[in-house]
């Protein structure tokens, strides 16, 4: 299988690194009690939020260093004679293994600045020079990177973090960490970079630790990680299956155990380009991933955060192998949101994306269950859901599919459409429904008239069949049975 990788952009790659140090973590404002708060007793949500925002977070890692030694500046790499440059490079790498507490904004300022300058130089050194990646440099480089970025992420300061309203907690050590990520990226992209040499250090354990960092709350960090993991996937063929499997595990844990993982969208973005490169026919492993991981991911509470990426992956799969359409659509119908209108709108969006690429033969296989669901959505009292479903009729391709199968689709849709054209509270929806009914009538006016008259006849008839009534009568005889049965 040859992965055809498309380029992911690093939007946060900062060019002027000088700004970085100025981002001193702001202290949260003191919680002074205003007079108005005292009167109404309830603080407004926005006020509480304002107090919480813009927090930054340290990490548990510096406890491992027993005593901090003050760093002393080394000579600049560009000033060193070329014979000594490589040696100095190593020394700088080692110097950068010193970690600092960025929650403490007053101590070690000098050493922090020395490390920052050294990191800047290192970034520069690997991106502009050729022949610097000697075999001996690899372990030093990886050691510096691992020491700096691999850490247990601290507990979330805000467990009920709402990504749409709250500001994320930012990594306090970012002035250094950012440069280390930048360095790692330049290292991987250096023309002299040799995967065969690096694979002793960039191994499964390295990847595993990298994947754990995707849970970082800092979007800048996740963005770097995304690009880096993608590069690794592209360059290390031997790690590909492993990376896919571990992403798989991360997702399963997210779906079935924790319901929380910050990096889902980023990982899905990587997967999107991986799926794009899958060879045909698809392996069973990949199909299983689609059905057992990607489809159940639609049940996540935080779907809104990664739905675009998820839908992209699904559509990629279907474009590769159209025969997967039926199981995918049935899967989506199985997990169709029952109470969350916002999610329902997302599902409808995804269905439209799928219908955009569906083959007519596949459409025939799913039209019945699918339009039963769409008919429910059209009649949804939440106008956004109804509206989203009715927009399907603005899509030329979908219209052509419906027209081709009008004898199947119209009977399913008719009842709902007819009813809400009279009953829906929202005038926009009623107007949309009229248009849809008109379109459908034009497709097959005979069938339309038939359905209209049978619908009306049905409504006139007294309700003969009432299931609710049957139940108690069914149970009663067996209550006796219970009494006379042997004790359990």
């Amino acid at each position: 299988m040859i992965g055809q990788l498309c380029c992911l952009s690093v939007t946060h790659a900062v060019t002027s690194v000088e700004d970085a140090l100025q981002q001193v973590p702001p202290t949260p404002p003191m919680s002074a009690i205003s007079a108005s708060e005292k009167v109404d007793g309830f603080t407004r949500k926005s006020m509480r939020k304002a107090q919480k925002q813009k927090k930054s977070q340290g990490s548990s890692q510096f406890r491992t260093q027993s005593s901090l030694v003050e760093l002393s500046p080394l000579p600049q790499l560009k000033d060193a004679p070329s014979t000594e440059q490589q040696d100095l490079f190593t020394q700088k790498l080692q110097q950068c293994c010193m970690l600092f507490d960025f929650m403490d904004t007053v101590t070690d300022l000098k050493s922090k600045e020395i490390k920052r300058a050294a990191l800047n130089e290192l970034v520069d050194y690997v991106s502009t020079n050729r022949g610097v990646l000697t075999e001996a440099a690899y372990p030093e480089i990886i050691n510096m990177i691992s020491t700096n970025i691999f850490r247990t992420l601290p507990p979330s300061e805000n467990p009920d973090f709402d990504p749409e309203e709250d500001e994320p907690t930012l990594e306090a050590s970012w002035p250094h960490t950012q440069l280390v990520y930048e360095f790692l990226l330049r290292f991987l992209e250096n023309p002299d970079f040799q995967p065969s040499m690096a694979k002793r250090y960039i191994d499964q354990k390295f990847v595993l630790q990298l994947l754990e960092l995707f849970d970082s709350e800092d979007p800048r960090e996740r963005d770097f990680l995304k690009t880096i993991l993608h590069r690794i996937y592209g360059k290390f063929l031997g790690l590909r299956a492993f990376i896919r499997k571990q992403i798989n595990n991360n997702f399963l844990r997210f779906i079935y155990e924790t319901d929380h993982f910050n990096g889902v969208a980023e990982l899905l973005e990587i997967l999107g380009s991986i799926i794009n490169g899958f060879a045909l026919p698809l392996k069973a492993e990949h199909k299983q991933f689609l059905m057992k991981v990607l489809i159940p991911m639609h049940t996540a509470k935080s779907l809104a955060l990664f739905h675009a990426q998820l839908a992209y992956c699904i559509v990629q799969f279907l474009e590769k192998d159209p025969t997967l359409t039926e199981p995918v659509i049935r899967g989506l119908l199985k997990f169709w949101p029952k109470t969350c209108s916002q999610k329902e709108v997302m599902f409808l969006g995804e269905i439209e994306e799928i219908l955009d690429v569906i083959e007519p033969t596949q459409f025939k296989k799913v039209q019945e269950p699918l339009f039963k669901q769409i008919s429910k959505c059209v009649a949804n009292p939440h106008f956004q859901v109804a509206e989203r479903a009715l927009y399907f009729w603005n899509n030329e391709y979908i219209l052509s599919l419906i027209e081709e199968n009008i004898d199947k689709v119209l009977p399913i849709m008719f009842g709902s459409l007819y009813r809400i054209s009279k009953e829906h509270w929202n005038p926009t929806i009623v107007a949309l429904v009229y248009n849809v009914l008109k379109t459908l009538m034009e497709m097959n006016s005979v069938l339309f008239d038939e359905l209209t008259s049978s619908y009306k006849a049905e409504r006139q008839r007294p309700k003969a069949h009432q299931k609710l009534d049957i139940m108690p009568r069914v149970i009663k005889p067996f209550l006796k049975l219970w009494d006379s049965s042997e004790p359990q």
Binding site: K38, T152, P154, L252, Y256, P369, V474, F478
Partner: protein
């Protein structure tokens, strides 16, 4: 196809088909098992025992169960109900002799994706495993466990982890060896989900193993899981550590358990250290006094000083329990020299959760350390926490005052207590105010009536006019408890006049508070005060302009009626209620009529 929903195409041969009319209703239920509407299928599944009972044991075995096994591809909600039902089905399939018939559907359910369904299926399997004879256990149950343990998808292997311990004790030694082998395999499974499941069942499995095998099998697994690459696995090993340490003789603990436990207490992941802190009391009991003294004391110190607040808070929570359970000889020295210095630092911790966790237990140390140490060492800490900026810390101290009271008496604290209470009483958050009100009766009891009258009484009255209803309500209830404590005479002198004074307040909410107070106080104050002082005020308020006040007068009269004598009821209450019963407001009428009928004045 696993995505198949709903209706099965195959028509099972079932009740009703053979023309037996008495089974017709059952046929309807069975029909609904296949209905397109999930709710109907769900209802039917929940009545599964009725269906089975009507079908009889044989047809349940030969027809119903195969049919159910076939419906496994349904909505998770239906499957959950099914998994639960099958756990209680033993008698319905003909008793223990046939219980193994339930295994095929439960096996399928134990492999589905949805965790709650799987867990329920495992729970039912564990339940019915007890009903298997030893022979059936080996012939039917154990092979199922093996199949699950070697399943392709992680779900079945995860489920298998929960089944080893229930069948192990009752099978032959050959089968036992196989079970141990399967458990070993799952502990080193490729998928972290499975290793987590295995790690979480490690302690349970260890308990049913013979001691030799605990040492030879469980310990290596424990060591391996405790150094797993995933912290989510390592932290589960900490839980198992408690059970394992309890099983081993003291002399083996040092070599078999302690290296792993020490490593866990210093793990690089805070989640693992948190787990150690959280389980510290259990660990302490499991390893015994000697190891506690040598190992756990320094470990506990480190946890109290951990760089992660989450860990410090978990450890702070355990301070009292840990100190209590220290071996009595040397306890005081250990606390004074090793624990107290850390506790002192926590008092000024940067994280409020840590301080508040500490505040909820720190008072408990006074009984352990005795009067002199408490005064010299703990009192300054209590006082510092009483001045803490975070209200929760202050509240936690105040709520545990009784511990200190027993040792040194509360007077030592009263000077600092008062400002703390006043500040909490006026806190901007009503939940804080509510919490301090709830401690008032306790405080009043400990501080005595004089101190109360002088310092706290005005606070209690101020709460009655708070702008939050919950506070006014709690304040009313508080007054009742105070009267129960200090007696009716005290009430008459200090509280009643103020309460009754509010009846003339321009704000109708405050006038209603008078009525609510009377509702609460009349019983505790007794007939005399109620008749002489309260009743006239209530009756007068029946002329209030606000209807809400008037119908509360009616409710109030209904409430205090039983305290009054018959004369007062007939001559004073009755006319007023009759007048209110003719009020123009509907609600006033309603409550007046209700009061008349409850008090039997009609």
């Amino acid at each position: 196809a696993p995505w198949r929903i709903g209706i099965r195409t195959a028509e099972p041969k079932m009740a009703g088909a053979d023309g037996d009319d008495s089974l017709y209703p059952i046929a309807v239920l069975i029909d609904e098992l296949r209905n397109e509407d999930v709710q109907l299928r769900l209802n039917s599944i929940k009545k599964l025992s009725t269906i089975a009972l009507a079908l009889g044991v044989e047809r349940t075995r030969t027809e119903l169960l195969p049919f159910l096994t076939d419906t496994i591809y349904d909505e998770d909600e239906v499957l959950l109900a099914l998994a639960e039902q099958l756990g209680n089905f033993t008698m319905l399939v003909g008793g223990p002799e046939y219980v193994h018939c339930l295994l095929p559907p439960l096996e399928s359910l134990a492999t589905v994706e949805e965790t709650v369904v799987r867990d329920k299926a495992v729970e039912s399997l564990r339940k019915i495993s007890q009903e298997h004879s030893p022979v059936d256990l080996e012939v039917h149950f154990e092979p199922l466990v093996k199949r699950l343990a070697s399943g392709d998808w992680f779900t079945s292997r995860t489920s298998a982890c929960g089944l080893f311990s229930v069948c192990y004790p009752r099978v032959s030694s050959t089968v036992k060896a196989e079970i141990r082998q399967h458990f070993r395999t799952l502990c080193s499974d490729d998928t972290p989900m499975v290793r987590r499941a295995a790690a979480s069942k490690l302690g349970e499995f260890a308990k049913v193993l013979e001691l030799d095998y605990v040492k030879s099998d469980i310990i290596p697994l424990f060591t391996a899981l405790a150094s797993d690459e995933q912290d989510s696995v390592r932290l589960l090993a900490v839980e198992a550590c408690v059970s394992i340490a309890t099983l081993l003789p003291q002399e083996d603990l040092e070599t078999l358990v302690m290296p792993t436990l020490r490593q866990a207490a210093e793990d690089k992941s805070w989640r693992v250290r948190y787990m150690v802190a959280d389980k510290f009391s259990e660990l302490q009991k499991a390893v015994g006094p000697e190891i506690t003294k040598n190992d756990l004391v320094p470990a506990f110190q480190n946890l109290l000083k951990d760089c992660e607040a989450e860990v410090r808070a978990a450890a702070a929570n355990k301070v009292k329990e840990f100190c209590e359970n220290l071996p009595e000889d040397g306890r005081e020295t250990i606390i004074m020299t090793h624990i107290l210095p850390c506790v002192k630092e926590l008092v000024s911790d940067t994280n409020q959760h840590v301080k508040s966790a500490l505040a909820s237990v720190i008072m408990g140390l006074s009984t352990i350390l005795g009067k002199d140490n408490t005064i010299e060492h703990l009192l300054p800490l209590f006082l510092a926490q009483l001045k803490d900026e975070c209200p929760e810390v202050r509240l936690n101290i105040i709520s545990n005052l009784d511990c200190v009271n027993e040792v040194i008496g509360i007077r030592q604290l009263s000077q600092s207590l008062l400002p703390a209470i006043v500040e909490l009483a006026e806190d901007a958050k009503w939940r804080v105010r509510l919490a301090i009100i709830e401690y008032m009766p306790l405080l009043a009891g400990q501080l005595g009536v004089e101190f109360f009258d002088e310092k706290l009484n005005s606070l209690c009255m101020a709460w009655l006019v708070d702008h939050v209803y919950a506070i006014r309500e709690a304040a009313t209830c508080n007054l009742m408890k105070l009267v129960e404590k200090f007696g009716a005479e005290w009430a008459q002198n200090t509280i009643v006049p103020k309460v009754l004074g509010m009846a003339n307040d321009p704000n109708y909410l405050h006038r209603m508070t008078t009525l609510f107070c009377i509702n609460a106080l009349s019983e505790a104050c007794g007939q005399e005060i109620t008749t002489k002082h309260m009743l006239p005020v209530v009756l007068k308020m029946s002329n209030d302009q606000v209807a809400n006040v008037r119908f509360n007068v009616a409710k109030c009269l209904q409430k205090i009626g039983p305290v009054l004598d018959n004369n007062a009821l007939q001559t004073e209450v009755k006319p007023v209620l009759e007048k209110l019963a003719a009020d123009q407001d509907m609600d006033v009428k309603y409550f007046a009529q209700e009061a008349i009928s409850v008090l039997a004045l009609a």
